[in-house]
Symmetry: C2
Subunit: 377 residues, 2 copies
Amino acid sequence: MTAFSFELLGTDGAARRGRVTTAHGTIETPVFMPVGTAATVKAMQPESVASTGAQIVLANTYHLMLRPGADRVERLGGLHTFMNWPGPILTDSGGFQVMSLAKLRKLTEHGVTFQSHIDGAKHTLTPESSTEIQRKLDATITMAFDECTPFPVDKKGASNSMRLSMRWATRSRDAFVDREGYGQFGIVQGSVFPDLREESVKALRGIDFEGYAIGGLAVGEGQELMFKTLDFTTPLLPVHKPRYLMGVGKPSDLVGAVLRGVDMFDCVLPTRSGRTAQAFTRRGTVNLRNARHADDLRPLDEECGCPACKSYSRGYLHHLIRCDEILGLMLLTWHNIQYYQDLMAGMRAAIEHGTLAAFAHQFDIDQARGDIEALGC
Amino acid sequence: MTAFSFELLGTDGAARRGRVTTAHGTIETPVFMPVGTAATVKAMQPESVASTGAQIVLANTYHLMLRPGADRVERLGGLHTFMNWPGPILTDSGGFQVMSLAKLRKLTEHGVTFQSHIDGAKHTLTPESSTEIQRKLDATITMAFDECTPFPVDKKGASNSMRLSMRWATRSRDAFVDREGYGQFGIVQGSVFPDLREESVKALRGIDFEGYAIGGLAVGEGQELMFKTLDFTTPLLPVHKPRYLMGVGKPSDLVGAVLRGVDMFDCVLPTRSGRTAQAFTRRGTVNLRNARHADDLRPLDEECGCPACKSYSRGYLHHLIRCDEILGLMLLTWHNIQYYQDLMAGMRAAIEHGTLAAFAHQFDIDQARGDIEALGC
């Protein structure tokens, strides 16, 4: 068996090149984790997800506890067997989805009571039950149960919310069943307030997790404030533990956050955009529903090796989307995941060569060039 | 270049083992052609379709002439390039869909005028324009433009309809541009009337096509009457040309029709059923939406080699369907196409060994056994 560990292989400024070792395989960082909410990365076979270079996927505790239920997933062999993803899986704690999706929520010191958005049934999530559910799901990386502090929030509100999350972090850690190669991450809260983020990091370091997530960002504060918050938060985190920025983000968010020392990311953007005709490319975003693609013989992205780009014209992809054909969603989702993985691989290589700043500069130029092309210039 | 040809490799009773040679590859018969209506076999990549053993796909002239348009498909390289299917493609003539999907139809000797079901635009299809559209689509096998006689119909109506189709068959043949390795099939009409079917076959044989389709079946007459019609129609057809039963069918239809000397089939059933949770298996049909599958660790079909059966439990497939996950449609469609291809491969092998009657008998037993299992006995 393998102990859960993080190895810092090199740095380039604040950016880090690392390796997470787990019971289900290693993860080269910085890494982007495709989201498989209901134990499926939507519109993709797991073999296809793996073929893009994805090393770890995320699944949602909230969705899976409601359907098909944690006990059922456990009976069916745990998430790795259930969804045919033998590699590492990270599950969130359910807290974020309870607040964004569930109805009639009641939050107390004990936890959160809520009604399922599917059938209205009443459920409770606590640090203890969230941790237990994630064990039943067989998550490689379990997240501590927290409250995702809304934005905007005043300092008093941010402080109260963060301190509740820190008390819950202690209870989550106590409930965590330590298994070889499995880990649990604490989540730093404190909104955009430096002293609250510092207090949160101190509390979590006192508990000592296998990794540290930065929560409460990408909730409407904007990229500038997010980067500013990272600027004062990541230096507080232990050097030899992985750092995970939750729910982020756009390609430019990933580049900026890697420059600021973040190791791990997840976001529904590439998969969700793939289902709404938006493709991420080396020349910016492209909306394939647009009529200008109808007669375009060129591939979506000439430098991309995914099936959408290797085997089809923009004209065909446009046709599929106009006809609401499932293959359109399948191909664009695959492309977007491929693009995100290529972007992360590019950043890993750049960090190894000490050229991340130049990489980020070229990224900005290329993305802007795409915008000009899209205008027909 | 290769001439379009049909080789009769062997027989087993009325059943035939053959090989169609085309500009885009050979087709071992009896063969089932998955339907790719809008230039995509719904919810599948073409590489996956090919991996099931599928040798030829069908595309719909009606859908493609409306969207994206035949000229556009031609500009984008023809169907083979457009949809990334280098193998043979058969296109129907559009006649059937005009009558079943379009609005405000007007049928004359000249052809059919109709309104698009998509945007209401007025279009005309004639034997000449249908044939020309199929050439622009780059169909390996072009179908003659006909009227699919409705059922039930009196003999006078069936006769008038069939004779119109025969006049249209002559015009379709005249409009067909002969290219090496490409072929055109005439369509036998005449409903369930032996003398009308005989008259139709004589008319078509006089024109001389590369193959002969049997149309106007699977339109509500039931399996018994369909088989009876085949019993008196297939013996009339030339031995050394392929025979295609249009729009058929259920697995038991395929077995019965192969026993009666049919070589080629197409049907939306496996793909459409895959999108409504119905799976075809060696033990009959299975509805995976049914709650009895929720905790079932077994594969859908233990003898099947498709990804749905190799990598997942029935419990997981049930979960995907309950959550309306796209992967559920993808996997069940793949399975159904795999099942149909395996069934055809089994029949081809049985004909080679002279054991098709035994194969058909075992098929009936296995399918019935599945029904018993489904009842929980």
